[in-house]
Structures are given as structure tokens and as C-alpha cells.
Symmetry: C2
Subunit: 339 residues, 2 copies
């Protein structure tokens, strides 16, 4: 047994989480068993889906129990190994949790190639968010050349790759993001033809003006006002991929939202397809994603941006900022330097 530092779930949030819901502590960590390795965490990923794990409700990936380590993906280096596939010094990515060290099974981790790109990208553009962007665009939306796509959270870890991949498909790509700085970045670096601030009082009108041919694909990360602005613009046979709904994660705005019959009627009359997806169901699509996007990141053709909090102890504050849209680019926590 060794000690490790971790962030535990101290209490469940009522609505928006606060710092009091988290607890930094030292705790014992079991030794790795057969086929397992001990990993020293270097980078931790913060992602909106983690908000759902904090609630005491059935979730697709199980909730975090009170007192347990907050869940999450991390990149680390192997320091001890009972697996013939991994050796000390290997850089790996897996579900380390919010912690300084983790025990991972060889079946639930993979090696990271430090030659391809900075290892932190295994948590972003070349990791779960990038994989999510690629599956949503290609498999769920079945996006086609020449179509118009709207991407909400356009500069987020997922949206920033959706935009660039859609542009590479010769689609018309419109973004919605939080604030002028993000919108400018979306247009300058991510291939968006235009990007609208979701706080604009004229969101619906601006979006309509930008999509005279209507919208064929909506990559949904937020719900809320953005969804209500996009819905009337959806074309016949259009598709919505529901990847997230961050605007509604903490119960805010639920009472303002439209009634179901309006959406139901749109789906019928426009023959729409609305599909939810969770990337953990699509592991078989990681390899083709990595084959396509890896070289594009290495060559610099795909742009990515990281927002880094320094030190595990700062993970809770960075997570709260992420939920509020305060981050700019893939949100990471630098836990330790490489040895």
C-alpha cells in the first residue's frame, strides 16, 4: 500500500456545484494486482460529463459514491507494472480519477506516443473529446459534403474538432460559443464561417441570417437557448446528435424550456433524426479516428488549444469554471512533471 493524494466527493451538489462538494485528502492506494500497473498521474482531464456523476441518480456510467475519488481520465507514467504489456516509464492514458496516482488494469488503458504530439493531447484532441467529435460528426450525424452544420460550444474540447473536421468535409460550418473572444478564435483558427455569442439577445435571428439554406446537422453540446434557436432552422431530413446539454446540467433553465409537443411535431414534420450518444459505447471506432486525426495533429493541420490549471488541488475550481463556460480550450489539470 502506498499513499496518494486525491480529490474525493465530499457532498452532493444542490444545483450548481461549489468547492465545498470536494475534499482534498491523502489516502491509501492498494498495490497493483496481476495485469495491473501503478501510474503516477501527470495530466488530469476535466469534462462536463463529470457533473452527472456527482448526482445520486442512475447515470450511464454510474455515479461517484460519497467519499470516493472523483472520476476522470488522466495521462501518467507507469511506475510499477504487473503487466507484460507495460513497463515503468511508459506513458499511458486511462481512467485515473482526480488523484496523484492510480492503479489501472492493462485492459482499460492504452499507451500514448510522445512522438506524435504532446502527451496531454491524449486527453483532448487525440483522446476522448476528439474521438467524441469524430464519432458524432461521422457516425451519428452522417454529415455530408455541402451540408450546413451548427456546432454549439464551438470552441470547446469537442466542438473545436467538430468544426475543423466539418470544414475539411467542405461543409458550411456555423458555431455558437460564449463571448466575442471565443467566437473570433473559432473563425480565425477553427474553420468556422461565422460564430455567434450564445448570450446574444438576437441569437435566433443571427443564426437564421447566417443559414439561408437552413441547417442539416446540429451538433448539440448545450441545450438551452441555443437549441431553441436552432430548432426552427432545421431542414427536412436533418439530424441532431445529442452529445451534451451543459446548459441544463445543474437544473437551471428547465422551467423556461419549450414544451415537448413543439419538438415532437418538428421531428415528425421535418422527418428529423435525433440521436443521443456516449463515446464509451464506441470504442471500436477509436482506431479509425486516431488513424485519421493523429497525422493531422502531428502535421499541424488540426489546431487545438488547452486551458491548464496547475496542481491537483486546483481541479475543483477549474471544474466549476468549466461548467460555467469560463475555460477556453480543452480543460486540463497539470498534476505533476514527467520524471
Amino acid at each position: 500500500m502506498t499513499d496518494h493524494t486525491r480529490i474525493a466527493l465530499a457532498s452532493r451538489p444542490q444545483g450548481a456545484p461549489t468547492l465545498e462538494n470536494f475534499r482534498l485528502e491523502t489516502a491509501a492506494l492498494r498495490d497493483p494486482g496481476p495485469g495491473e500497473v501503478l501510474v503516477r498521474v501527470l495530466w488530469l482531464s476535466l469534462d462536463p460529463y463529470m457533473r452527472g456523476r456527482m448526482d445520486d441518480v442512475k447515470s450511464y456510467a454510474g455515479k461517484v459514491e460519497l467519499g470516493d475519488t472523483m472520476e476522470g481520465g488522466g495521462v501518467g507514467e507507469v511506475v510499477a507494472s504487473n503487466s507484460k504489456h507495460y513497463a515503468p516509464g511508459d506513458i499511458v492514458v486511462g481512467r485515473t480519477g482526480w488523484a496523484s496516482h492510480a492503479v489501472l488494469s492493462e485492459t482499460e488503458m492504452r499507451k500514448v506516443d510522445p512522438e506524435l504530439a504532446p502527451i496531454s493531447t491524449a486527453l483532448g484532441v487525440l483522446g476522448m473529446p476528439g474521438h467524441t467529435a469524430w464519432v458524432g460528426l461521422n457516425d451519428i450525424l452522417a454529415a455530408q459534403e455541402g451540408e450546413t452544420i451548427v456546432v454549439s460550444a464551438a470552441t470547446g474540447a469537442v466542438g473545436s474538432l467538430v468544426g475543423q473536421l466539418a470544414k475539411r468535409k467542405n461543409m458550411k460550418v456555423i458555431g455558437v460559443a460564449g463571448g466575442a473572444e471565443k467566437c473570433a478564435y473559432a473563425v480565425e483558427h477553427l474553420g468556422y464561417e461565422a460564430c455567434i455569442d450564445h448570450r446574444s439577445p438576437d441569437l435566433a435571428a443571427e443564426l437564421k441570417a447566417l443559414t439561408p439554406g437552413g441547417v442539416d446537422c446540429y451538433y448539440e453540446n448545450v441545450g438551452g437557448a441555443t437549441l431553441e434557436a436552432v430548432l426552427p432552422l432545421m431542414n427536412d431530413f436533418s439530424r441532431i446528435a445529442i452529445c451534451g446539454m451543459i446548459a441544463w446540467y445543474s437544473g437551471k433553465g428547465l422551467e423556461d424550456a419549450m414544451r415537448l409537443p413543439k419538438m415532437w411535431r418538428s421531428i415528425l414534420v421535418k422527418r428529423m433524426r435525433v440521436q443521443g450518444f456516449i463515446i464509451f459505447d464506441h470504442n471500436d471506432r477509436f482506431a479509425p479516428f486516431a488513424r485519421e486525426v493523429g497525422p493531422l495533429v502531428k502535421s499541424g493541420e488540426i489546431h487545438y488549444r488547452e486551458s491548464v490549471a496547475d496542481g491537483l488541488e486546483n481541479a475543483p475550481a477549474a471544474f466549476l469554471e468549466l461548467l460555467g463556460g469560463g475555460n477556453f480550450g480543452k480543460q486540463l489539470v497539470k498534476v505533476a512533471d514527467k520524471s
Copy 2:
């Protein structure tokens, strides 16, 4: 030019339609042009989708203009032909409208085989409703053997075939219908394992008790309380085919309906697929439908039931009854006897 009798749209309904919205009249009918035939209508089909055509809003199939003939499918006999493909005496099905006679183009009609089944079935189990049932079950829901399906409007023109085809796939088939008589019929004749009255105050609890393994497919014809009862029971990777939403067609219940975020969250967390469809987009799937279902109707393996109003003048009242769920089986109007 010949005279014909027809039902015209006299005024647009405010909410539920009334008899005053329709007008029986005699009007001139143009002669058939090249490639067209003159048809004497024998049977007229009444279908819920017609409600949408009465409104002054953009609809997938265009609205009926004030003073124009109400739209609808009919079976008739050719009395004069300018098409080399059709001869007087042929029995045909096409979009005749609510009228005693119609001019149809050879490209928008097809022959009916009187040897296969009674010609009125070309408007029901072997026509548009049957085609709708088959496409929704096979193409939209991609229903699989062993899965559980819930069918609303279980004994309607569409639902009655969905139930039987699902049973033939060895699915667990649960119906929701209006009243004890329809429910008994669903179980006795249509292959439903059970059928619940949608007016039951315990609809949600009854449905839950009948589906201990959850629901994989929901064939949606009604919306309203039935949808709200089914939604919590939907399994991961389940599908909803939106074929109709008759409970909400006239604006009733819209304010009682759930807010969108609840549905949105379910679609995401359960990785559901919700798809609307309209049968007129699926003409290429008529032939395989007819090849499968035609012989089953001829052999008596597929059961169907008709509700017949006698005389074109009674079409409006029969249509209002249909919208209220008062019909039992495919609603037809007998316009004339075969010559």
C-alpha cells in the same frame, strides 16, 4: 368538363374541427389530359394526417386551400383514359380527394388487384397505412426479434398491422388503445400480449408492470399521456419512430406536456434514437412491403378491420369521429358501388 360531387374546405378549424369547416357541393371537373384518366371513386380513405392539411401552416404535403377539395386517397374505377397503361374498368388507387370523381395522372396511381383482397384494402392494410406500419417497424425502428415494442393507437389502421408484424418477428408486443373493446380485440386478433386503455389513470404503472425488461421500440402514433408513460421505460439504445401525434393535433394538452429538457436528457443518457417519418418519402419501399404483406392478407394470416361510413356526404362526420378515436379499424367512406 363534367360535374362531380365533392367536399370542400369551407373554413379553417380553430382547435378541433367541426362540420362547419366542410361543404358538400357540386362543381365542374376538368377533362383528363394526356397521360391522365377519369376515375369514378368507390372508396375514400380517412386518415389523421388530413387534420394537418386543414391548417394555414406549412406542412410536409402542403395545405388544402380554402374552397378546394379535401385531400385524400381513394379507390375507384377508370371510366375514361388517355393513358396507354389504364383502360376503362380498371380498379385503381390514387389521391382522388373527397369527391365522387377525380382526374389522376398515370404517374401518381397504381392498379389494384381485385383477386388479392377486397379492393378497399388498397386504402388500408395493403395501402398507405399498411405501408406506413411496415416501414416504421422495419426501416425506422429496425425492430429485432426478442425486443419489446409498445404501439400506441394499437388497433388503428397503422397500429393493427404493426402489432401483427411485430408478433411475427417474435417480439413482445404491448398495445395502448382507447377503451376495453379495442383492447380486447388487440389481444384476441392482433397478436398483442396485452393492451392498456390510454384513459386509465394508472397508465404509467400498468405499462411498467407489463414491461419488466423495459421497452426497446416505441411506435408513436399519439403523443400525449401515452408518450409520457412510455418514456421512463425506454431502454438504453432504444428507438422511437414518430409516425403521428394525434393527441396533440388540435392543440389540446400542449400546455400539460412535459418540458423538453427531460426528453433531451433521456435521449442522451439512454443513447436513444428518435426519428420522424412520413410515408410519402418511402415509395421505394412499397414493393417489398406489398410482396411480404399481400400474401399474408390473401391467406388470412393478417387480420384487418374496417369502419365504413356510407356516402360521401357523411365523410366529414366520420372524419371528426376518427380524430376523437371513435372509429374502430381502418376508417373508410363508401362513395359508390362498383358498376
